[in-house]
Amino acid sequence: QAIASRSTGSSILVSPRQKGNPILTLLRQFAWEYSDIPADYVLGQTTCALFLSLKYHRLHPEYIYNRIKSLAGKYLLRILLVMVDIGNHEDSLKELSKTSLVNNATVILCWSAAEAARYVELYKSYEHASASAIKGVESKSYAEKMVDFVTVPRSINKTDAVTIVSAFGSIKAAVNARPEEIAVISGWGEKKVRRWCSVVDEPFRARK
């Protein structure tokens, strides 16, 4: 679990261009101050963000290119925080996907000012966080893991997981059980039995 480290000393830097953006009133978690920066928001040593509303982008398509150019290769992570506030967004988004590839920017979409503010705050608060939360290391009790394991094949649910393991005593026994033995358990219909038995016996690799 990543603990949001609060770098209390530093605050979010905001470009004066953003004056009047509703995001600013929604930034409550962190202190922010205006500062003369090329980006719209500076969210850490190497992280910055440009804010773009699609409505504006449609009227002034060249704006965002100039802004990206003005970053001039600074910052490692350059977020393009795009607010989707129009209905037919397909063409604009297609173009921005291409742009992000060419100009080294990462597109993040949001659908409201509140969500945009949340992203801004998240980037700031995770400034020094490790990526362990997305590396898939979670500690869970045996029961939860057991249920997770048994319920991977579709259509097998939590109750089934409990019944099969309690009927056979252990997961190993459940894995080795014969189909006829499983079919006796309440709740285990033919389909489930067939799926379970085929999955545990199926080789991981398709043999040629």
């Binding site: 679990q1 990543a2 949001a4 409550r28 190497t46 992570l77 350059r78 989707v84 397909e90 988004l93 297609k94 291409k98 992000s100 590839l101 080294n104 990462t106 597109v107 993040i108 659908w111 509140a114 949340r118 992203y119 705050e121 998240l122 995770y126 966080a129 990526a131 939360a133 997305i134 898939g136 045996y142 029961a143 939860e144 057991m146 997770d148 991977v152 094949p153 649910n157 109750t159 309690s166 005593g169 252990s170 997961i171 190993k172 894995v175 080795n176 006829e180 033995e181 006796v184 309440s186 709740g187 219909g189 999955v199 545990v200 016996d201 199926e202 991981f204 690799r205 398709a206 040629k208």
Partner: protein, 944 residues
């Protein structure tokens, strides 16, 4: 086969070959002729023998020989059935050229073998995923295909693999035949002009609709050879009705909660009434599907609850009282609160009085306290009640009636056996009935004292007593197991409540004390469930003394002891020694409804009497077809159902829905034909129209380089489950299916794309897969991209319905890192160079890919395949079977690093489960090996 017909037909080389068909009824013959003559979509009512039609058709082609015919969309069981039927046909008509069905359904068959098989020709049923790859790689040349038959046409939507296959086939082969079959009319009626859309996907111009009420069908089935049907409405017992009502109340409240939590959604249709009729949990799930990634955790839980409740409605009618109670016990245990939960995080229905009613009534059907008048708790003891299912008695009566009937008019000279066939929903039900029939006339000594007439009544007392004994034994063990399993949860919960609420109950759940009952007060009927301190229901415990008296009450009597133990699972080892064939003459056969297999059962058993223990629309039709097909077989059908129950409603609504669907289809067909004649282009050659729309775009884009070399995309073969490859192909890109280790789509030597649907995204964040995939992409490619693809019909946003109110604080601290947005943030922080593509649908993705590829060199498939492979590995070694791997990934001790070794060193899950620590050690190391071993071998029975 009763009526057979010699059907002369000419094969390609002109010689005449007689073919024997087995289509006795007029409508079947007509339909067959029609299908032979032209390409069309046939929609037949359920139970009218679609598979029989198909096998006859295939046999006609098979016997002609010298062709290559593909069967698309058949599942595994159908393959078996069709294969058998074809072999049978071939034997009957003794056609030298018939070769039967070739099934290609696993990757086990190597590329070389497949190529050889295709070259030989014949009839093939190929799994779509394999077929599409074979067509794209040129292993199977579309031009040499004689024809394609698509089964389950209702499942072929524009983006499906089958539609992709048909498109490739039609693009390259304009002369081969194409026929589509379906016996499921409902999907053709949802959406805008669904039938014509469907026809376009299938590249077909004609549709032929055959409902039960079609004149020809009705005439064939309603002649003088109709089956005799006796309908029996059975009343539910009072307690069953109480439980059903209580469940319905729970459903109502759950739906109310859903409405409250998701006010933005359209939910007028969600009411109790529809709940009785349809598979309401599925309907609701489908309604929520577009926003599924946005709904709160709680909504998901309630939707799950609804499935559980619906299951309960079904089991109430099918399980016996003891098994039902046992089932409820398990449900309760599985829904026991997770650690750290509060009232808010639990299933709302568990808090209702109605839930209490369900559990106490279910228990009272099994045993109850001898509530003494003075009300003193200690004076009471438990006494078995053992309510029997009302249908059992009726079944016994029916059997007796049949017996009498057989006695009075003994030999009705006809072709059928004297067999009695009992049909019910599933094998569990079969087992229950079999057991009941065996034992119903065995009586307790005591009962005989009551008088003579008691002797004749069938009773399940024996069976129920045995079940109760098993149940009590099971319950003792189960209590231990659930303690073992959920002890940690309970402890966590207890400490939580102890600090919060009054500490008087903080020991609850640790030991089976009887304190709990006293809390409830008023010892009315044995023991019900009691409530946990936070208000949800808690599994009840009986006092050991009471259980002991109950046990002694139902000790096996002499007669019971004399009964042999029933065999639940017979390994059939010494078949020869112990078994012999029974004479079909006087048998009672119990069978479960099994779709098209039922036809076979009827033909083989040739029953004189059929008892439908539960209603089933298609089986009624099958009996009709069976009866009409055989002049000399008499059938009497008994039809049992519970009045006013879910079962009855479900049957009625399924009949109604099918009829409605057909009516609408006929209406649409009548208007559709006009459209077709007017707009000849769109329908004449749909694939051309399709390409035309796309080609204009390319021309406008000024892609001059493309004319020299068509744009190419390397696609991982595992990606063919999604619709994207099909759409890319539709945009005239060349699809190169390859086994990729890194990435899903390779657009250019630099651009590698990992595609994630929202569901995948969530799960791959959870198990850390995405992190590793991104890491490896960065090792081999310059511009790795993550494609976040929303579904066409899903709402294009990640925002949850829950109030964000803009600040981190509003999302509780432990939740902050668990939602999707924050994980995305972490991912981009970890990989600043990772580009993210947001796409609202696969269609949009195809466009984006196209624009990304412009001015980029084409990718090299051979390089793409070799990327990420370790020295000695070959591409063919790459893994295919997803589900067992996903399961393995959940096992503690398995990490993203050692899973590769495990998969290579050890063959399957079963082998991993049975491996010892020493065997696991070389693959994963000592510590992980021990963890894995412990996970599989932990015994919940002995509490360690």
């Amino acid at each position: 086969m009763a009526t057979e017909k010699w059907y002369p037909m000419s094969s390609a080389n002109g010689d005449r070959q007689p073919v024997k068909l087995s289509l006795p009824l007029k409508y079947q013959q007509e339909l067959f002729q029609e299908l032979r003559e032209k390409d069309e979509l046939v929609i037949l009512a359920r139970g009218l023998g679609l598979l029989r039609l198909l096998t006859n058709l295939l046999h006609a082609y098979d016997a002609a020989g010298n062709n290559l015919i593909l069967l698309v969309g058949a599942d595994e069981r159908e393959n078996g059935w069709i294969g058998e039927a074809l072999a049978e046909h071939a034997a009957i008509s003794m056609s030298p050229k018939a070769r039967g069905l070739n099934v290609v359904n696993t990757d086990a068959m190597s590329v070389g073998t497949r190529e050889k098989m295709y070259a030989l020709g014949g009839i093939f049923s190929v799994t779509s995923r394999i077929l599409v790859v074979d067509l794209l790689t040129g292993l199977l040349n579309p031009e040499i295909i004689t024809g394609v038959v698509a089964l389950h046409a209702d499942r072929i939507v524009a983006t499906s693999l089958e539609a992709f296959i048909l498109r490739i086939y039609r693009q390259r082969n304009k002369v081969g035949f194409l026929k589509a079959l379906s016996d499921n009319p409902e999907p053709f009626t949802t959406g805008f002009a669904p039938l014509s859309t469907m026809m376009r996907n299938l590249f077909l111009k004609n549709v032929s609709i055959w409902p039960r009420f079609q004149v020809c069908v009705a005439q064939s089935l309603e002649g003088k050879k109709r089956a005799e049907v006796i309908e029996l409405e059975v009343a539910m017992s009072d307690s069953m009705r109480d439980i059903q009502n209580a469940i319905m109340e729970c459903v109502e409240v759950s739906i109310g909660e859903l409405k409250k939590a998701n006010s933005g959604l359209e939910m007028e249709e969600w009411n109790l009434d529809s709940a009785l009729h349809k598979q309401f949990d599925v309907v609701i799930r489908r309604q929520l599907d577009p926003v599924w990634h946005r709904v709160s955790w709680k909504t998901k839980q309630i939707v799950n609850d609804l499935s559980v409740l619906r299951g309960m409605l079904h089991t109430l009618l099918t399980y016996d009282a003891v098994s039902f109670n046992r089932h409820l016990d398990t449900i309760l245990a599985a829904h026991s609160p997770p650690p750290g939960s509060t009232r808010q995080t639990q299933s709302p229905w568990l808090f209702l009085d109605a839930a209490q009613t369900i559990f106490t009534t279910a228990k009272r059907r099994v045993y109850s306290g001898n509530s003494s008048k003075d009300g003193a708790e200690d004076a009471e003891s438990l006494r078995p009640v053992l309510e029997e299912q009302p249908k059992w008695a009726i079944l016994a009566e029916v059997l007796e009636e049949i017996d009498r009937d057989l006695y009075f008019n003994p030999i009705l000279r006809d072709d059928s056996n004297g067999t009695i066939l009992i049909m019910c929903t599933d094998t569990a039900q079969c087992r229950q009935l079999r057991e009941y029939l065996q034992i119903m006339h065995v009586h307790l000594k005591r009962d005989e004292d009551y008088g003579e007439e008691g002797e004749h009544d069938a009773s399940a007392a024996f069976m129920m007593r045995k079940k109760l004994r098993d149940y009590l034994k099971w319950k003792k063990e189960f209590a231990k197991i659930s303690v073992a399993l959920f002890k940690e949860n309970q402890a966590a919960l207890d400490s939580a409540t102890a600090t919060r609420g009054p500490p008087n109950q903080s020991l609850r759940g640790k030991a089976p004390t009887n304190k709990r009952r006293r809390v409830r007060g008023g010892g009315n009927t044995g023991t019900g469930s009691s409530r946990a301190s936070n208000g949800s229901i808690l599994a009840s415990e009986d006092r050991p003394m009471e259980v002991a008296t109950l046990m002694s009450e139902i000790q096996p009597t002499e007669e019971e002891a004399a009964q042999k133990e029933d065999v639940v699972a017979d390994p059939l080892d010494d078949m020869e020694d112990y078994f012999q064939l029974y004479d079909m003459q006087d048998l009672v056969v119990v069978h479960a409804y099994d779709g098209d297999m039922d036809e076979h059962v009827l033909e083989e058993v040739k029953p004189r009497y059929i008892i439908m223990y539960e209603p089933d629309t298609s089986f009624v039709r099958r009996v009709e077809v069976y009866r009409s097909s055989h002049n000399d077989r008499n059938v009497r059908v008994y039809f049992l159902y519970y009045g006013g129950s879910v079962e009855e409603q479900r049957y009625l609504s399924s009949v109604r829905r099918e009829k409605d669907a057909f009516t609408r289809l006929i209406k649409e067909k009548s208007t559709m034909s006009v459209v077709m004649t007017l707009d000849a282009h769109g329908v004449e050659d749909p694939q051309e129209a399709f390409l035309r729309t796309i080609n204009t775009r390319i021309a406008g884009g000024g892609r001059l380089a493309a004319t020299a070399e068509p744009p190419r995309v390397v696609v991982d073969v595992r990606e063919f489950g999604s619709s994207l490859p099909s759409l890319l192909h539709g945009r005239s890109m060349v699809i190169v299916p390859c086994m990729l280790t890194v990435g899903d789509y390779i657009l250019s030597p630099n651009i590698c794309i990992e595609r994630k649907s929202i569901k995948d995204l969530i799960s791959s964040f959870k198990d850390g897969r995405l992190y590793n995939q991104t890491e490896t992409m960065f090792q081999y490619y310059k511009s790795p991209m993550l494609l976040i693809e929303f579904d066409q019909n899903k709402s294009f946003t990640l925002e949850p319905f829950a109030d964000l109110s803009g600040s981190l604080a509003s999302v509780s601290a432990n939740n902050a890192s668990s939602d999707l947005q924050s994980k995305l943030v972490l991912l981009t922080l970890a990989f600043p160079k990772l580009r993210i593509i947001w796409s609202s649908s696969p269609y949009q993705t195809a466009e984006i890919f196209e624009s990304l590829k412009t001015q980029e060199p084409e990718p090299d498939p051979i390089h793409a395949v070799n990327v990420g492979l370790d020295g000695g590995q070959r591409a063919e070694d790459q893994t295919f079977n997803r589900v067992p791997q996903d399961m393995l990934r959940v096992v503690p001790g398995v990490t993203s690093k050692n899973i590769k070794n495990l998969i290579i060193e050890i063959g399957s899950l079963k082998e991993v489960a049975n491996a010892s620590v020493d065997e696991l050690e070389p693959a994963v190391g000592k510590e992980s090996g021990r963890q894995i071993h412990r996970f599989f071998n932990k015994n919940v029975l002995d509490d360690d």
